[in-house]
Subunit: 153 residues, 2 copies
Amino acid sequence: MTEPRYLTDAEKLAVATAEAKKGLAEGGIPIGAALFDEEGRLLGSGHNQRVQGGNPALHGETAAFLNAGRQRSYRRTTMATTLSPCWYCSGLVRQFNIGRVIVGENENFFGGQDWLAENGTEVTTVNDPELIRIMTDFIAANPELWNEDIGED
Amino acid sequence: MTEPRYLTDAEKLAVATAEAKKGLAEGGIPIGAALFDEEGRLLGSGHNQRVQGGNPALHGETAAFLNAGRQRSYRRTTMATTLSPCWYCSGLVRQFNIGRVIVGENENFFGGQDWLAENGTEVTTVNDPELIRIMTDFIAANPELWNEDIGED
């Protein structure tokens, strides 16, 4: 038996970041996420599919949740996401009692993370400079697409 | 030019109910939803896909939202759902500013509908006896599956 492999926060966020970059390379909205079990094993990861999949329901977090498949409990899982979760994704976290969220950055968008913290989710914000830059550049270049993704008229 | 066809609330809810019954017939969780534009045209409908699709991310409301495809604005849309929307689906409604929600019943489950109403969504509750019965029977027969679907340990 080897010791369980606990990934660090930085390593978990790196999985989400790789998803965001994959999305950007595909011409999509560069937001990624990944869900881990309590021992730091990856359950599933994914990225926003609005452009590539024509799929408005797959944000980074919901894509990771989908790709993790059916789970009996999420209480000890951790969701790493490159951007502060919007209400839709915050609702996902709250309903399924995902225990912890690592937020890559919340400077370009501040979602429901305080609401989650108030309701018992452990929230850690990193504000990684590279993630801030990726999203700042993307929003500046694609304001309409970004507004569509967050439901702004 | 004919007059726009405004569906009544009962007609909108009937579309969601048909989805719930389709889900039940498939062996799935009987929750359905449908999204309509301001003139009452159906944009998309769907039902819970946890069992059939092995898909934990598709609740009734998110399935309807997905099947409606990309939309530029949801402010004048109406979501009819057979069951009070959980936090995940309430978050969807709030983030995308879906203007109105018709709740088929909230006796078996009371989700985030008050939170939505407080934040500007028009919420109408029907408490349809047939929908209450369908969900009561389903939960009684499938308690573990139901708890999995709402993230209860």
